[in-house]
Symmetry: C2
Subunit: 490 residues, 2 copies
Amino acid sequence: MEEKKVAARIARGCRGIAAGELMAREAMIAKISAIYRLYGFEPLMTPSMEYVDALGKNLPEQSTPMAGIFALKDDDDEWIALRYDMTAPLARYVAQNRQNLPAIFRRYAIGPVWRMEKPGPGRFREFYQCDFDTVGSASPAADAEVCTILATAFSALGLENDFLISVSNRKILSGILETIGIKEDDGSGRHLTILRAIDKLDRLGLSGVRLLLGPGRKDESGDFTAGAHLDESQIEQICSFLSAGAESRQEVCANLEKLVEGSAIGLEGVAELRQMDALLESAGLSSRVVRFDPAIVRGLAYYTGIVYEATLTFEITDEKGEKRQFGAVAGGGRYDGLLSRFTKERVPATGASIGIDRLLSALIAKGVAKNEPPAGPVLVTVMDKEALPEYQKMVAELRSSGIRSELYLGTSGFRAQMKYADKRRSPAIIVAGSDEFAAGTVSIKDMYLGTELAKGISSREEWREQPAQVTVARSDMAAEIKKILQRYEI
Amino acid sequence: MEEKKVAARIARGCRGIAAGELMAREAMIAKISAIYRLYGFEPLMTPSMEYVDALGKNLPEQSTPMAGIFALKDDDDEWIALRYDMTAPLARYVAQNRQNLPAIFRRYAIGPVWRMEKPGPGRFREFYQCDFDTVGSASPAADAEVCTILATAFSALGLENDFLISVSNRKILSGILETIGIKEDDGSGRHLTILRAIDKLDRLGLSGVRLLLGPGRKDESGDFTAGAHLDESQIEQICSFLSAGAESRQEVCANLEKLVEGSAIGLEGVAELRQMDALLESAGLSSRVVRFDPAIVRGLAYYTGIVYEATLTFEITDEKGEKRQFGAVAGGGRYDGLLSRFTKERVPATGASIGIDRLLSALIAKGVAKNEPPAGPVLVTVMDKEALPEYQKMVAELRSSGIRSELYLGTSGFRAQMKYADKRRSPAIIVAGSDEFAAGTVSIKDMYLGTELAKGISSREEWREQPAQVTVARSDMAAEIKKILQRYEI
């Protein structure tokens, strides 16, 4: 009776990460978290899941409740969901533990977040973020520091001249909307529709954004996105806002000031940008590194003030074979209202999130990190099954000398063991049979040196003739192996 | 209009982990994974979620489908679930990628797993495991190595004389069942009911297990667990099996051999244990460290042969104030059938899993790891808001000297800043106002030394008189701070 087999499929939009990438990733994360720590942040790990009401609905592109998140009912019949970012759980944590935390709480967090979105090249449903946030400070110095930290992190990773941090202030957009007669909290969701239209400027260009601000837009696949139904003069005003950018930060501030004349919130936003400018200057961050860009709004609903987006400026060839700039790898902003979902107290907060997966692929594309299968362990081959305890002793001795090694645990002969060592990327193998046992020696083969020659060799006798092989006293085994490992800097 | 507030609650059975514990945990994980690597294992990260059919139903205590797992339907209308262990996803991964993997695949994996079980003290719905597995080897040497790795890991963590690894073989239980006329694959699930009854020996004692093997058992809360409905002589035979333990591994083998006389599978199980015994001897693992214990069966359904359970043997005082041994911190076994759910090829595999959360609490209970809030950053206080750029420069200078530090980003006066530094556990603070700026100096306070005296001090003038304070040239600031950090080994 044949059993029906289960298909070995990975869940949609998910991926596995193998040793080479994991190790590059770990090294990158270690560098980033060292910088977060240097700046006074401490680590915190909140659970992967939260009650849905605690998470709130802040995802971009999602209008219906529960859309975009992985949610289920627990055994208490309550809705829980995997976190879609690290900020919403932080807000819940701070609201729940505020009395035990310092008045200003600086935490970093590294971990996966989950979004049930359409997967695509480089777009996964489980991806990793590396966040830092300062909760409890309304000072623009906290916002300026976000830029410093991002700049320091990118430089430490070898991207000194390859990034640009774009800064804007949502208050200015609110000011613009005020001047064209759109109220933020009129319950229509129109404010968010406009925000998300602007957030697509990069992808759709000004003409696409115009459609989304007006009647709506049909994409190539025929899907229709409803528009904000603004009239022509309103759209014009928003487009002037989007085009208010300039090389100099002060010039951007001057342009924006004119546009929000008469709006208190808008002018407040410009004043905050001016403060940022002064702080960035004194922190040594010129407009070559941190620019002001009105078109930056960020998709998440919870931002209330300064927002940031960090892009990498070098060119890559994308999946369609076209050259383009690498794009955004980090983003964030000030979210002074997020805590007040839970508490009466208004707790200001600001922070940013680095996308681990995207940043790592940037480092690899740039050649400052490598995604290569790592060197394997030294392999102690088995020539004589009766001598297993002897081989066990060899591998135990190598390991106590700190040499990464393994005993061959299969049933195949010498040739298959050589192949196995190759596939494992073992730098060296140990060979010992009755001759070596009698003579008190072992044979050691440098596998990297011998790889070319070894191809096509099928017997142990032939292999003995190879130049990459030495026979040494059993007592010199570990020392000899160490020489080989040093040769390859393993 | 008062907005309704959301309750800031953590999801049931979940917990947050703060800096002190996270850092102890990271150090522990680093030691464990260094040992896994030394033994030739390489890291692999599979996604948190898998298709439910790929995971299979292997959880102990769960009879109904989906019970015990966090499952939901994705947007393709397929059931996906958070993994309940790291072994089922490994089986899926190997089945899917076998052609690209070495014939023997040794991987380790560290990450969360999720089970929707009743939470309790130390029992969470999201917990971390640190697994290593050897896929593709049927050799008992792979099983013996599991014991060596666990012993090496516990010793490296400072638990040299505090652990015991118990080993058994499911084949022997199958042999026992064969001798009493119970077939493994008769579709009744009786075999699993018996397995799980035995797995509760620790908690329920022999009398409780007898009830579960017979008519069933009502617990203190009145919940009834159905029994396996064995007759008296069958139960007797299983109890003899459970009592076949002895100090010497060879004696256990002799006892078991008598009990499974006439059962091929049972005798095969005993023969494998004898091989293990020889390999453990030659690896230097005496029965004081690795014992054979027939009562070890492990709850997970997928084990087919040798099973392991590592317990810590020192006493702790539990949540009820009673002294008891710490208990199990790792477990595993051979699961030669798990891959054949996916593939025609039968791929043998063995491995074990260390429970990160439980092991860390053991290290803390034993005093070999500490869960203490770490030292905070040096705080640059703000005496004069107009001088913010000056303070910014100070903190920038400290950071470029590698000193973990932060600028005070709140709005409060000196006293609140001192309190804040205390709460942050800052080892030192920097104080500079117009006097210091004029003189080209800064004042530095050693906060740990000054903590006692500082209580009750309310003005900056009084504070100047404290002995823990020095005033140094501005250019000596970083060097002076380094002295304080060295004093406290930060």
